[in-house]
Amino acid sequence: MADPAYPVFDPERFFAMRFGGHGGDLGIEYVSHGEDWAELALPYHERLIGDPDSGVLASGPILSLMDMATSCGVWLKLGTFNPHATLDLRIDYLRPATPGKTVIGRGQCYRLTRSIAFVRGQAHDGDPDDPLAHVAGTFMSPGGYR
């Protein structure tokens, strides 16, 4: 599937090598991946709190986590990195993230067309059967995915 002219996308290397940026500032890290999905971690940090009374994380960092995890899912399914743009992203906040716990986000690309990638994913904070967020979205590649 991968074009031999382009290097195979390796999310672990991608996260180890990236420059600062928003993902780096949030502390997002690589966890694992498969042929069309990636799992990333967002460690708990006080500066990401959205509700000071409860200590619950803001929803913005979880949106960023899922945007990145689903993006990686697309590049994994495609086999190589391709600069693309998020077209839309919908998140259902099933429950608040538990204060102090790392949030794990798993993003999958379940359909890839010439210009659009369809993605979905879930986030949890320890038990994958007790998700805290569900996401669905699309990405667009200006130059086409293939």
């Binding site: 928003h22 960092p61 949106l63 945007d67």
Partner: protein, 126 residues
């Protein structure tokens, strides 16, 4: 209105507005996605803060906790390396549910770079 730590992390500046506060997100390395462009997550975070700010202003003195149920973000144009503004509008303020929209722009409000629709659960204190 006091901003949470996450707003300070983004570098958000809040300015009072007649119907809803206006939010300014300065462009920094910390909100960069691919080089030279605003990260979609940071932009989504800005829109969520704008939606929450609009809802809090609409609730005024009402004692209530608000919980986000969901958000849908549409990305229309790439965010470039300049300041981004956002403001929310409460479409409907019900007893239990609020529907809120927010738009983000850079050059002119008429040319939005992203929009969000959010549903909130409102827990009113008796």
């Amino acid at each position: 209105m006091s901003l949470p730590p996450y707003a300070a992390f983004l570098g958000l500046i809040e300015e009072p507005g007649e119907t809803a506060p206006l939010y300014l997100l300065p462009f920094t390395i910390g909100v960069t996605g691919r080089p030279g462009f605003l990260h979609g997550g940071a932009l989504g975070g800005l829109l969520e803060m704008a939606a929450i700010g609009a809802l809090k202003q609409a609730l005024g003195a009402v004692e209530a906790r608000i919980k986000p149920i969901n958000v849908t973000v549409d990305y229309m144009r790439g965010g470039r390396d300049k300041p981004t503004y956002a403001r929310g509008t409460v479409t409907r303020l019900g007893n239990r549910i609020a529907n809120v929209e927010a738009f983000a722009w850079q050059d002119e409000p008429e040319r939005p770079i992203a929009a969000a629709r959010m549903n909130f659960l409102i827990l009113r204190q008796e």
